[in-house]
Symmetry: C2
Subunit: 392 residues, 2 copies
């Protein structure tokens, strides 16, 4: 008898309370709360105590959560600011993709692995997953800093490059031939989308902005913003980019009106409610038992390379801005996520990548995911507003 | 290849935009927006054009949506205010349960149907589904009115009575014997829960309230409130009540601090995002083709009885307050929902209720669901704040 939603409510309750309680404990220990939420997921999820298995429904709610994390970050990023750091952000993204690929590829070849497997490991080391960084920067209230703008801008380019690399290795896995036409279409779509969002969309919003207030529906500004957020998230995913990049753009085009429309507290409320499910879900996918396995030595080397190569690659174009912003951007771009796992999975399923190599990639994502938040918090400790700085 | 959440995002986008666009059109026609959202669901759902089949995940998001509608309504209802209307609310609930049951039962017996089937139809006519009314009152910003308090208070008692009646008819369906011990436990749990929430819980919140601000986590007040909302929704569902009643209590215990903690815009944002999925889902379950079937005459009579009996039952104790509040409360308690359908389904599955009688109950829920919002809006047109009243 369909008597009620107790079961889902119980899981939501358990995840929310566990994530936030662990977050509070971590904050008390001067560590980022988001790390606590991830650790709660690792502890209670399938690879930990097994209290909670993240179902499809929970996974969907988690994906909505990270969409709102980036939507919120976008609301604090005005298009003009993003254009101003555009050059720098593109350099950061390109070098931050090239270095990890070359180092990952080179090390695997050096170990004597076949070229095809080395390509996959290199590709898996490329794509930054910006959700964690956006959350840490938002918690520290430093989204307005120069380094934060460059990280978010670079994440857009990084996502495009990562998508192309994924298309290349997927073609590689399927038969080995590169479809240049397909790649060109992908590139044109993604670049066109990004350029449209940055240069044209804000003007459209400027035009329609007075009409939104005339709608009869209550909270019409919030509803229009939410509709655009869902639309651009879907569109980005549809053309092969990350949904969160679309959500970031959606926030950005409304950034100039976020205050007037009182969007920040209202979207912030949604983010606050949904985001913990995402970070918990990330944690629940971290198999901490991998840390005891035979692959440990290689996995540690690959993880170190993943860290060093991203920090150097993303840092190099930043050197002129001083070492502090160099490190901030390098560490901000550190976390790897879904794309790395998808690349490795494609390789595994096509038989090119060995299960032990897949485990190495999983290990690497875990290490970069766990290391970035505390280091980032440390690097930004002086930028944070007084109340937060006192807790750091 | 798990390349992205496009499909779910597309469904969410379609539902959100369709619901809100229909809502805007209805507001423009001086009809309640929520009715537009329900009609959008009926038009695009499985019984309409079939563009969207409400999946388990969408259903879960919808259930979260109505939880937040009642949580928001609770945040605007101080415990003291609820206690003040307590007597009146209980009278409204009791008479509002007794009249529909007796009229429904009586009419079916009069038609010559067996007693067992008449019991089920009577029981299905009892329970009010307060989600729609709470949303209409919230949209009109009249939650502070006397009639709104009485409706919300009566909904609590109505839910307890409806739960007991459901337990009785379920026992009836299973074997016919009433388990008095089981019923006593259910009653004690529900009454104890309600009394605790109204009289004790607000004092506990008053005690812990200064400590919440000392937590290191950002937005700690919102997070504590959301945790309690999830907890009480789960607990209410666990003891057999409606989850939304738990959510309403959760809002109520924080009502005294809603302003200080800036909860209204932040919880309001969540409600604004999630609620349309609930009202769309309600609509998608309305099978409008029923309106052409043979059962139409009986269904129309039963629907009329459902309206008249609820308005008279809930109105009688209100007569001393003037005819306007009498009608407001009567119409506010009109919509039937899940409980009616569950009662009818239990009867259908046990063979006591014929499929044609089940269709009558579905028809009756549809009629009461669709009629209440516009009439309620009309009855409250003079209480609404200036800007909204101008649109009415």
């Amino acid at each position: 008898m369909p008597l009620g939603p107790e079961h889902l409510l119980f899981e939501l309750l358990l995840i929310f309370v566990a994530a936030k309680a662990a977050g509070e404990a971590f904050e008390w220990l001067r560590l980022p709360g988001v790390l606590g939420e991830i650790v709660a997921g690792a502890a209670l999820g399938s690879y930990g105590l097994g209290w909670i298995h993240v179902s499809d429904t929970l996974q969907s709610i988690a994906e909505l959560g990270v969409i709102f994390v980036l939507f919120s970050a976008g609301l604090e990023t005005r298009p003009g600011e993003l254009i101003r750091v555009g050059d720098k952000a593109m350099q950061v993204a390109v070098a931050g993709v090239a270095f990890p690929f070359l180092l990952g590829f080179g090390y695997m070849k050096f170990r004597g692995d076949p070229t095809s497997e080395a390509v996959f490991v290199g590709a898996a080391m490329v794509a930054t997953s910006v959700g964690i960084t956006a959350r840490v920067l938002g918690d520290l209230r430093v989204l307005a800093s120069q380094a934060a703008k460059i990280i978010l801008g670079a994440a857009v380019f990084d996502d495009i490059l990562g998508m192309l690399l994924l298309a290349i290795v997927a073609g590689f896995a399927a038969g080995g031939r590169l479809e240049w036409l397909h790649l060109s279409v992908l590139t044109a779509e993604a670049v066109g989308f990004a350029l449209f969002m940055i240069f044209v969309a804000p003007r459209i919003v400027h035009r329609i902005h007075p009409r939104v207030a005339q709608l009869s529906t209550q909270n019409s500004s919030l509803i229009v913003a939410l509709s655009i957020c869902l639309f651009l998230s879907w569109l980005a995913a549809k053309i092969g980019m990350a949904a969160i990049i679309g959500a970031f753009f959606a926030g950005m085009v409304f950034a100039d009106y976020a205050e007037e429309w009182n969007l920040l507290p209202r979207v912030g409320g949604i983010t606050e409610f949904l985001a913990p499910f995402f970070f918990f879900a990330i944690g629940s996918r971290l198999d901490l038992r991998l840390f005891n396995r035979q692959v440990l030595v290689v996995a540690t080397v690959v993880s170190l390379l993943a860290i060093v190569s991203k920090v150097i690659g993303c840092g190099l174009p930043m050197l002129s801005q001083g070492w502090k912003d160099t490190l901030r951007v390098g560490i901000g771009m550190l976390p790897r996520g879904e794309v790395a796992l998808i690349v490795a999975l494609v390789g595994l399923q096509s038989g090119i990548v060995l299960p032990s190599t897949y485990a190495i990639v999983v290990f690497m994502t875990a290490v970069t995911t766990l290391i970035a938040p505390p280091v980032l918090r440390y690097l930004f400790r002086k930028e944070a507003p007084a109340k937060i700085a006192a807790q750091l």
